[in-house]
């Protein structure tokens, strides 16, 4: 059931795809702002540079947490692409994120501490909707296994439009895009320095960045599942979804954490639950 080839492909290709996506993202962002922007390969240069830099830490345990973070991000992403249980994948991702948060806590620095708290707020904001998305996919395909969901002939998006909208909402949070880039971001919002990543230098920062690429590829894979009945449409959908995120990123200013939490939960409740409720009712009526 578990496809090892896919997992290995993910391990090898995800950083390349993730880095390119990030490079295109930066280029497009620059164009939207009327700038020329960096080269497409800029993210790779950044990570290459960070790996060459000196590793300064406040406490050695930071290294451990960040290593665990990237390892578990990679493991959970690999599990997803290998076709594993979607809920297990989601929980493994939570585990990985907790390691990032702990790494920030470990340094006992005010900025990373606030960043860590905000990262936790983000986690509780997006987690319910992600789980509801998985549940929605189960209700349509009767399986939690990614390979079975992906192989399903049913157009999930037609069954789960509300869930998809809710997912797009938390997609923004997960990608660390404005308006929900509370804990850290790629922009020059400086009032919290760099949030969770404040106390990480050089190689550790590079690991966080690479982990983020892996995670982005996983998220794009999640979008794919909604359209898995037709790979061409799915790829178009992924591109459109990501472009939409870039547009949102560049047209919104950052909101407070209160609004992030409330809006994410309200959307999860309104869009996700109502959608699932209708499916639930229909399943009860039809079967």
């Amino acid at each position: 059931m578990i496809s090892l080839t896919n997992a290995i492909l993910f391990l090898l290709l995800a950083p390349i795809i993730g880095g390119l996506v990030s490079g295109i993202d930066r280029k497009l962002t620059a164009r939207m702002q009327g700038r020329v922007g960096p080269p497409i390969f800029q993210p790779f240069y950044d990570v290459g540079k960070l790996l060459e830099k000196e590793n300064l830490v406040v406490t050695s345990s930071q290294n451990f947490y960040i290593l665990s973070y990237i390892v578990f991000i990679v493991v959970s992403g690999a599990l997803f692409f290998a076709g594993g249980d979607l809920l297990l994948v989601i929980f493994a991702f939570t585990l990985a994120h907790i390691f990032l948060v702990l790494g920030a806590y470990a340094s006992n620095s005010p900025y990373s501490f606030v960043g860590a708290e905000r990262e936790l707020i983000q986690i509780i904001a997006y987690e319910p909707m992600i789980i509801l998305s998985a549940v929605g996919m189960y209700m349509v395909t009767k399986s939690f296994f990614v390979n079975e969901i992906a192989a399903s002939e049913l157009p999930l998006i037609l069954y789960l439009p509300g869930v998809f909208i809710g997912f797009l909402m938390v997609f923004t949070i997960k990608l660390r895009k404005s308006p929900f880039d509370l804990s850290t971001s790629h922009h020059a919002h400086q009032e919290l320095v760099k949030g969770v990543t404040t106390e990480f230098t050089g190689p550790n920062l590079a690991r966080i960045e690479i982990a983020h690429w892996y995670e982005n590829v996983f998220l794009l894979g999640f979008v794919y599942l909604f359209f898995a009945f037709n790979p061409v449409i799915a790829i178009v959908a992924i591109i459109v979804a990501y472009l939409l995120e870039i547009l949102i990123d560049n047209t919104f200013s950052r909101v407070k954490w209160q609004l992030t939490l409330k809006s994410a939960w309200i959307v999860a409740g309104m869009m996700g639950l109502v959608n699932l409720g209708v499916l639930y009712y229909l399943a009860g009526v039809l079967i």
């Binding site: 240069y45 950044d46 540079k49 400086q190 404040t198 990480f200």
Partner: protein
């Protein structure tokens, strides 16, 4: 490798500048000059930075801060003094509370003159500093190699 030259991240610190040079530093980020073309990002955090851009001269208030920020930037790093005040103290040089340029306190690699320094010359100064950055990286590598062979005790603990 040349990654370092392709992705220099700045930390801009306003020591005791009149804000003239600061405006010009920020102008570099705007669409007109767009330093992100060169992979340059203005970070707000010394721990992520490679290039320390200082405007204004050293006074008693910011002496400790400049030193602290400089120490928190991981090696290899370069310092670019932007504007005449950062270079030498400028018109404030003789003031009772000014010690002079940034080089009174930390080693400066590139001086960008001007009052205020023009964005073009700031960009030029930063690009110049990248050569030095690269040199420093090679030096750092050699030092690390030597240390490994000589196995000096204590590691890099401070």
């Amino acid at each position: 490798m040349t990654y370092l030259k392709k992705s220099p991240w700045l930390l801009h610190y306003d020591a005791s500048s009149c804000n003239g040079c600061d405006i010009e530093v920020l102008a570099c980020l705007t669409p007109l000059y767009d330093v992100e073309r060169f992979g340059i990002i203005n970070t707000g955090n010394p721990k992520h930075a490679d290039v320390f851009v200082v405007t204004g001269g050293v006074n008693e208030q910011n002496r400790e801060v400049i030193r602290n920020i400089y120490e928190q930037i991981p090696e290899p790093k370069v310092v670019v003094a932007v504007g005449i005040c950062a270079s030498s103290g400028g018109i404030f040089r003789e003031c009772y509370n000014i010690s002079g340029g940034i080089d009174q306190l930390i080693p400066v690699d590139v001086y960008v003159p001007g009052c205020a320094a023009r964005p073009e010359s700031i960009i030029d100064g930063i690009v110049k500093s990248l050569e030095i950055l690269e040199e420093k990286r090679i030096q750092m590598k050699e030092r690390a190699k030597q240390k490994e062979q000589g196995s000096s005790p204590g590691g890099g603990e401070r």
